[in-house]
Each structure stands twice: as C-alpha cells, then as structure tokens.
Symmetry: C3
C-alpha cells in the first residue's frame, strides 16, 4: 500500500492534475496465464496499472514479465480486484483460497466451449464457491486480440453484471481506463446471457440464410424441371451440362430480385398497417418486427447473389458452348446462303436490358458500400435514410425494369409456358412489382400526408386523447428507413 | 435522494474505487416517450442511471419499463437534468411546468423536419419559455439507433451548446458515461447550427455531383452529335441504338479520367502558388481551399464512373450488335474469299491497352478501399500520404497511358475529326496530361528542394523575419497529400 | 487563476455534477503555430480548455483566434502544460526560456522527417536542454487531421512516455478529455520508438510484398521461357504479344493460389508442432511467429491477384487475338467443309471450371470484406474464427478444385511438358494440395481430440505438472484462427 500512500502525498501539491491517479497505480491480480490472462495483463501494465499473476509454481512460465508471478495466496492478498482467467473446470481449487479472497472483487472472465454445458453460469458457480467474494461477470465478450490491441469499433463495449454495485463500479473504472465503454447488465443472474454472447454464430443471419437456401433450392429444381428434364422428355436431348452456368445464372438473379423486394416489403406493410390503425402507438406484430430487423441481411444476401449473376453473365462469351453455337450459327448462315438482317429493335432492347442491369448493379453496390459500418456511421440520419430509402427504391425499380426488358414479349409466346408453368423470370417479378405499386400508392399526396401526420404522433378518431399524443413524439421515426 | 445518501455512506469505506459512483446513481428525467426518448432512456438505464419519464397519463404507454412513468410535475422535481424529447410544436405546455423546471438543466434534443421552419432555434425558444431553467442543446445529432446501440465511429461525438458552463458540464458528464466524446460549441446561439446538422444532405458532395452531372451531360451531347447525328446527316443511317451502351461507354471513361485528374490538379496548383509566393504562411484563395476539400468526393465519383466503364466494356461481347457484326465480318471474308492476315502490332497494342486498363482499375480500387474510413484510420500519416499521393499519381499515369494507347494513331486520320471536332478521348486527355507534366516539373530536384524548404517553414527573401518562421513550423504539412 | 477560483466556489452548490470542471477550464500553452499547433489548439478550445500560443512576434500570424498569442515568456508562465509543436532544429531557443519553463510539463509533439537523423530522440534532447522541466513525449503519432476532427478508429490511441508519473498523468487527463485512449509506454527512453512510429511505411506488408514480387518474377520468367521462347526456338514463331494478357493471366492465378495456401500453411504447421510437442506452452519458432502475423497481408495480396485474374479473364473475348482466332477457326471449318461435333464432356468440364472459379472468387471476396476493420470488429470471436477458418478452407478447396478442373487431363499429354518442365498450373497446385491433405489429417477425430485438449492446456507425459497446467489456461486460443 506504499504506492497509494505516496500518491496521496503528492496530490497535495498537484491537486487539479492528479485526479484518478490513486486508482491508476492500483495493484490488480490475475489468476490464469493463458492467452487471455497474458493479454489482459499486458494491456493493464501499458495503461499504468501494476499487475501480479497468481500461480502455483511462480517460476514455471517464461511468457510473463519477470517478477510478476507469485503464489496464489500472496497474489490474492495484494490486490482488491482479481481477474479469474481460468477454465471453469479448474475453479474447484479456488475454494482453498476462500479466506484470502474474502471481500475481494472477483472478475469472472471465463467462457465455455459450448452453450448449456453446465446447469449454472460460470460466474454463479464461482459465487457459490466463494460466497465471501463479490463476483462480477465481465470482459468475456472481448477476444484476447481486442484486449491486447485496445478497443476497436464493436469490441468497444464491456458488459458487466454482478450483485454488488460497488464491485461493478470498481471493475467499470478499470474498463473505462482501458478505453472501453461499460454497459451494466444488472445482477449476476445475467451472467448466463453474457457467457452465451461469444458463442453466438450470426444469430441475425439465420432467417435470411434459411430463406435464401429455401428460395434457391425451389427455383433450382423449378428450372431443372422446366429446362433439363423437359428437354430430355420432349426431345430426348441431354442438356444437363447447362446446370453449371446457364441454370445457375437463372436462379441467382431470380432469388436476388425476390430478396431485394423482400427488403422493402415490410416497410410498405408497416406503413399500410399504421394507416389502417390510424396510430403509430401500437406494436407491430412480432413477425413484422422480426422481418424488419433482418432487412439489412436480406439486402446483403441479395447483393451477393446479384454479384454472382454479374460474374456468371460476364463469363458467357468465353464458354465453350456459347462459342460453339455462335460458330455453328455463322456456318449455317453461309451454308444456307442466307443473311439474317440487322434488327434495330433487338439491338435497342438488348442494349437497354444490359445497360439497366449494369446501372442496377452499380446502385446495388452503392447500397452495399454505404451499409458498411464505417461508412454508415459517417452519415447523418437524413443521409442514411435518403440512401437506404430513395436510392433503395430506385435500385429496386431499375432491377425490376431490367427483368421486364429481359422478358420483353416472351409472355406472348405459348412455347415459353412449358408444361403450363410460368418462366421463372415471371415468378421473380411478382413481389417486386407489388412492392413498387404499393409504394406508389403511399406516395400519393393524400396518403403521404396522413402517414406523415401519424408518424409525427397524430392519432385518428381519438378526440379525447388529442392532447396526449403530442407529448409522445420526437422527430425520429425508424420504420421508414429501409435498411440494406 | 435516499440513493445518494447510501452511496455517500459507502464511499467512506470504498474511497478509491468509488469515484463517480454518486453521479452514476443519479436520477434523470425524460419528457417524451417517442422512439428517441425510449432509446435514450433504455441506454441510460443500461449504463446505470435511474430514469423517470414525464407523462400526462402515466399508465397509457405500454412500451416503457413498468413504474418509470409519472406525471410531468413529479418527474421534473425528481431530477436535476431533464431531457426534452418532444416536438417543438408541443413545447407550449412546458410553460405550465415553469415552477418545477426552475433551476433545472433542460437538454433540448429536438430536431425539425425542415430547415428555417421557425425564426428561432428550438432550444432558444425553450429558453424563452422557461427563463428560469438552464437550457443545453445537445444529443440531437445522434439517431435513436445510435443511442440504443451505443457510440460508433462517426456517431461518437455529442455536440453541446448552452449559456451555463455548469449545466453543460453536467450534460457532458452524462454523455461521457454513455461513451460519447463531447464537443463544446459555445453559447446557446449555436443551437440553430446544431439543429441544422441532422438535416444536411451530403453537403460536401454537392460540388462534385454538380461537376459530374455537368461534364456527363456535355460529353453525352458531344458524342451523340458526333456519332448518331453525324451518321444520320451524312449517311442517313440510324444508329441511335448505340446510345444505350456504346456511347455511354464513351462518356463514362472520359468523365472519369477528367475527374481523377481534377483530384490532383489543386495539389499541383497549391504547390506552384507556394513556390511563387515563397512562403506557406499565406492562405490559399477560397476556391482552391474548397476544391481541395472535395478531392475525396471527386475521386470517389471518378471511381464509380470507372467501374461503370469496366462493366460496360465487359458487356461488349454478349451484345447482339457486336455478335452480329463479328458474324457478318466472318461471312464477308468467306464470301469474298479473302483472309485478313494476323496483325502482331494490332495484337500488342490492343492487349497493352486492355492490360493497362485492368491495372489502372485495380489501382483505382485500391485507392477507393484505402479511403474507406475504417481502413484509412489504420494508416499512419506517412502511409496515407504514400497511398494517396504516390499510388494516386501512378493510377493517373496508368489510366492516361491507357487512353493514349486507345487513341494510338487515331489523331493522324482525318476521318476521325468529324465536323472539325476532336474525338472525345482527346478532350479527356488535356487535363490529366497537364497535371502529369506539372507534377514532373515539381519533381525536378531543384524545385523539389525549394518546395520542401518552404513547407518546413522557410520563407523567401524575408531576411529580417528569418528567425521567426523557424518557430512556426511542425513536421506536418497537409497540402501535399492528395486525398481520394 | 480567476477561473479556477470561480469554479471552486460553484462546486459547493453543484458538487456531484461538477467533477473535473476545475481541470477543464485550465489554461494550456502551445509553442509553435504550424498546422499541428493550430489543429491541437483548435481542438483544445472546442473541448473547453483555454489556450495561449507562445510567439516571438505575437501579432504576425493571422491564422489564429485573436488574442491567443503572447510572447513566449508570458505564455510559458500562464500554464502548467506546454505543448512543444516546433521542429527539433529550432529547440535551441527554448534554452533561453529555461527559467520560465522550470517545473512545467513539456509535451514534445515533434517528429522527424527521417529515421536516425539525430543521435538522440527529440524529447531526450529537449529534456537535456531544460533539465528543470518534466518532458513527456506524446501526441506525435496523431496527424493534424486527426487532432482537428477528433479520434477515429486507429487514430484513437495516444502513446505517452516520460520520466515523471505525475506529468504523464496530467497529459493523459488532457488526452482523455479530447476523447483519446492513453497508452503509457514507460520512461523517456521510449521516445525514440514513439518518434519512429509515424515514419513507418507498412512494416507488416514488407515480407508479403517481397514474397509476392519474388513469386511473380519467378513465374513470369518461367512462363515466358516455356511459352514465348519455346515457340521462338522450336517453331520460330513470335508470340511475344501474348505477354501482356495471356501470360499475365497465367502468372496472377498461380501466385494467388500459392499465396492463399501460404495463409493456411502456418496454422497447420503450428498444429502439428503442438501435437509433436504435446503442449501449447512452448513458444513457436520465430519464423513461424512472423509468418502467422502476416497471414492477413498474404491473404489480401492473394485476393488482389485473384481480382486481376478475374479481370484479365473477362477481357478475353474482346481481345483482337481471340476474335481473330475464333473467326479463323470458323472459316477453316467451312473451307474444309468439316463440322466439329459438340462435345458434352468439354461443355461440362469448362462450365464447371468457370463456375468453380466464380464461386471461389465470391468466397474470396467475402473473406476480404470480413477482414475490413469495421466489419471484423462487429464479429464475435467465434464468428470471426468461423469465417476465417471454415470459410477460408472452403475457399482454398474451391480454388484448388478450379485449378484441377483447368488442368483436367493435361498431365497425360506429353506435349505439355515442354523442355521437360511442368506446366505452371501444376507448380501452383503443390502447396494448396499439401495444406488441404494436412488439414484433413488434423480433422481426423482422434487427432482433433488430442489437439483440442492440448489447446485447452493439457500436456502430454508430464505427470508431475498435471495440476499446474490446468491453472494456466483460458478459453481463448488464437493459433487456430487463420486470419485473412
């Protein structure tokens, strides 16, 4: 405690500059010298703390600064805060240190390898082992890497939970000094939730991925039946080689367009729901809420599929099959001594089709880039909403138009309705067309005016509450911004 | 006030660990239960504050934690800080609470839907309504989303302004606890500026976008006249279908190259200005300053156009028009029984041309990626300057060379000067060639030496001030780094 | 000191809200009015500090707020902290201010233009000039830009070093107020290291770039000999024009695939080393450590080369050479009145080859995007490891398979072994095939189980230490995550 004594003395002469210095020179104790323990210790040392490692054989590990390892008992006594960076499997030995750990703040940093491996959270188990200590769960959502290199964008937040407010405050002070932002998650009963955090594997991507796989499988089987099997049954021709590129390049754009429109559908539904209810103060149904929360993921999957569509399209002219057919076409023209005349309409149509595709993909990419965290963070609320809403609908329109140009007069020709089924491009147009028509309805001046009023807090036909709602509103309404 | 009492008591025994704990348990009040009010409250609760919502009918809103809503009067009295998350239109009711709000710090979080909707800023209006309170404008530049999920890259800064330094400090303490960085913008007269922030729509993109639209329109009309109208007038041929892809693919690279060179022109002009003036201690003219500030935007627009140029080029071989012409060419060779010999120079030239294009685009992309905020933030000053300056000029050189290879000996053939006009590729070469020549001049050892001395603070022909300037310099000079 | 007086008085009535306010109103002094000094001053003013600039002729510089410039002597006396934003070349004049600077904290912010320009660090030189002051080195790793616009991702950390703990604490307080995270690098002897930081030019990219250049040069010469020189020597044909696109497009994918597999090789080697040693508590050899640290760079270079490969491949059908050969082929078919039959196997094979290439590139891009700092920061440890390890190996597999499909039965035909050398695609397959086989071995259940136990801290055949190792472990092991 000499250090603290000295600092207190200094603070007499250096008062205004010395705030927090007493805490900074505090001794902290770490149990466990694995990657995490070492990274944490290194960072604490760099930030100006003194650190001591608890160890059974203080001399045995060469990866630590010399002189920082002492026996567990001594280590526990030298500090008020002890970071427990040990596997839960080895907690039992801590029971023997119960006397030394009494009254200490124990920070449980542990994680498990799987969910639900144990009936109770590691931190709760620790508290049960050493009832005299104040256990705080925290720091476990950070990787050893984040600890060593300091906080970065999403590795900035440290979640804490524990039953003692003072203990949490003490740990929060250390986290703040290390540059992290602290979020208090309440009592120790939240420990389980914190321990499940690092084990999550893209929970917000599950629904969009399932949808993607489902739609892709459906459309793939659909085009295989309509193209490959139909050709085999009707003409006894084997064109199964077309699966690899031609059919894939039918499935990708179809699913991509459907998913892009599914990004914008929930926003439109929400708007009509608000119009119907005449208020924005009722919760949306759960399915709509969940749908709206995964719009960004839907959009990104749609972008990935659109990129594959572009790649597969650009590959076309180097394919053996395409080159063969072009040559065969030329040869047959010569042998039959016919010359097919140049078709200006055809040139206009196909060029427009490709041009719309290229522009649509460019806009698509723009939406994708602005949804990168570091870019979207730089946008003001209005800018983000402009890009995701206005530019988003423009993208949807251009891509839908691109698909209509692709179809052109195909819908007039009976030969395209093989086995009385619709070509897949028609199926892909249903949802986007509906979304665009509904959005157009919402843009009608009278509808738009009502919707804006509702979103500012106005409620229909509720005269006695007229004064209330005006107090419940703010300039922000998130339902309108369609996130990609 | 029981909470604070308790904490004070604890702090006797827990002194060094308990800094700031008293503030943390403070009660905060929020008026308004819209998206923003709820998000703010949720975040405050998570960070350890106690929160109370003011409401006219405390039971009517089911979106808030139970027990947090009380009547406005009670809410106002229970806290020293009141967040006003209400639309300005409903401020008037606050006048009735003037007694309870006296001496309180009111944080005006409101925004308007449009600029200049009201003659005075919302916060100034609030101060006029309740003269006894200390109004602080702030938090309004954050979205409800940023409040709920914590600070992220550019949503990290909270701007505050107000007439009372203590009130601002109290609000700053809360913002800091929430993980934000506080920037003091002075007295309440800055409120208007803060309220205009979230309404900005890409202000720094306005000039580059206007330039892009202007240049694109000019070159588009230029090539339509030279190609489509010329063919119609001279040969009575309708080749208007070429507008969609062929002509677009002439305009995109032309504008892209001009804009890329406009990125680097201001840096060169600035250098020559410094050489001419013999000092770096004079302000640049305003137009040059503004030009330099939008170099990044110019570069990104140029990159977008270059990407479209690449897409439109790769589309070429799948176009109907191109396939038709290639087949027609083969057919005519056979019918006329001629074989055009293989031209090695032609192969070298076109392959070099495509190769330079691909490399130039690769470098271009690299510049674009390093200008992403999260990437450029990881670079040291020297690394950023290396990429944006050295690699930038290399990109400009490769792209200019690509264009020269495209032209090849075209400038020798009179048929290309239709109606005595220059082909558009020649027009696009003027600025980049000039920039490259000027940059070469600046790299001459004698010029480079003088410029480096000037940028280190040396001033020409000013012998009596010789000693002064040496004190005015630092190792940083920002004019040399050409930002993409 | 009137300001502080006033604040102290206020704090009686405003106690809990006023923490830190006394420090905030402190006066700070800046010597040097260059870009850095001005930016620093501007930021300090915005954050609420009062700032005074030291100057020899207080009226001569028009770029500063009026009234902030005074003579050096007066400036030095008015503040406890003095920021020295002057070139080292001009430090000598500071000696004349030694009396006024006695007891002050001097923050040396200077940088040099080159490494090793002076025998001792600037800050140490400053300390020698003014022994009575407490010199702290710091803030020099920030650009003027970062100072003006506030901290951002990697410009968040301020490194400090100095011999006085109180002086460092005082500077750290200022840095924290400005929103930066402080890292203490120890005594003033670390100043040299801090001064070398901003002069670094991609130190972590040096090894990967050397490797890339070496491999590219080797394979380029290899294919030039095998293709161009062989054709010239054997058939006296000049096909040198193929260098620009065809040969480049052989070198890019070859080097890319080798480098991608070099990303994953060290992880595999490390795993086998741990299996052989039976412990994870021994350091890896230095070369392996260095190799593992540059995996991300290796992967990004591989991605850049893969992108060029894609661009060069998509360019193929617009090349003059390719069009000429296709037309010549058609013409010869007609003249010889032969029709080459359609080869379904060929169609399957080439389509699969292109399809794998497109999918592999898509996965590659995904790896690249998730390695963007702002994206990888949002991933949990498990998600990052899933993408970089599972998806990474999938990418390697798809790309290797793509190359095998390219080769097909080429290895059976003697004509491809020109001059008894292997085709370059075979060379490129050696390392990736080895990595994939070794990884498969590691995935065998028995091997995988042992490895997992070792990584959890288990040690083989060391019965007496059995109890120790269990205390040394944590749930984090970084060697398994292959970073792209």
């Amino acid at each position: 405690e000499r250090g603290r004594e000295r600092r207190k003395h200094e603070s007499v002469s250096l008062c205004p500059l010395n705030t927090g210095a007493a805490t900074e020179q505090d001794m902290l104790c770490i149990f466990g010298t694995g990657d995490l323990g070492r990274s944490l210790g290194q960072r604490l040392l760099q930030t100006g703390y003194r650190v001591v490692y608890g160890s059974r054989r203080p001399q045995s590990c060469g990866l630590l600064p010399p002189g920082t390892q002492v026996h567990h008992e001594a280590a526990a006594q030298s500090a008020r805060l002890v970071f427990i960076c040990i596997h839960r499997e080895n907690y039992d030995f801590l029971e023997t240190l119960a006397t030394q750990l009494k009254g200490k703040v124990l920070v449980d940093v542990s994680n498990n390898l799987k969910k639900n491996l144990y009936p109770e959270a590691n931190a709760e188990y620790l508290q049960r082992l050493i009832p005299g200590a104040q256990v705080v769960k925290g720091f476990n959502t950070l990787s050893a890497w984040a600890l060593q290199n300091g906080p970065s964008d999403a590795n900035r937040q440290v979640y804490l939970c524990g039953n003692s407010a003072e203990a949490k405050q003490a740990v929060a002070d250390v986290a703040t000094k290390l540059g992290f932002t602290v979020l208090d998650r309440g009592s120790l009963s939240a420990a389980r939730e914190l321990e499940d955090f690092p084990l999550q594997l893209f929970p917000e991507w599950r629904l969009p991925m399932q949808l993607t796989i489902g739609l892709t499988a459906f459309f793939f089987i659909y085009v295989v039946i309509r193209d490959v099997i139909y050709a085999y049954v009707k003409d006894n021709k084997d064109i199964s080689f077309r699966i690899m590129v031609s059919l894939a390049n039918k499935v990708f754009p179809t699913v991509s367009l459907v998913m892009l429109s599914l990004c914008y559908l929930p926003g439109v539904i929400a708007a009509f729901l608000q119009l119907y209810r005449g208020t924005k103060y009722k919760r949306f149904p759960d399915w709509l809420d969940r749908w709206m929360l995964c719009r960004k993921q839907l959009g990104l999957v749609a972008l990935a599929l659109a990129s594959l569509h572009v790649l597969y399209t650009l590959i076309i002219p180097i394919r053996y099959y395409v080159r063969y057919r072009l040559a065969a076409n030329t040869i047959s023209q010569i042998r039959e001594n016919k010359t097919s005349p140049f078709d200006t309409t055809m040139a206009w149509r196909t060029d427009s089709y490709y041009s719309m595709g290229a522009l649509g993909f460019g806009l698509y990419l723009l939406l994708g880039i602005t949804s990168l965290p570091s870019v979207s963070n730089m946008l003001s609320w209005r800018e983000f909403s402009f890009i995701q809403s206005k530019l988003g609908y423009l993208t949807l329109f251009v891509c839908t138009f691109h698909t209509y140009l692709y179809g052109w007069d195909m819908f007039l020709r009976p030969s395209y309705y093989k086995w009385y089924t619709l070509p897949n491009y028609m199926l892909s147009l249903v949802v986007p067309s509906a979304v665009l028509v509904l959005k157009l309805l919402l843009l009608l001046p009278c509808v738009d005016r009502t919707l804006t009023r509702i979103r500012q807090g106005w409620e229909r036909s509720d005269p006695e509450h007229e004064s209330k709602k005006s107090l419940l509103t703010s300039g922000y309404h998130t339902t309108d911004t369609n996130a990609l």
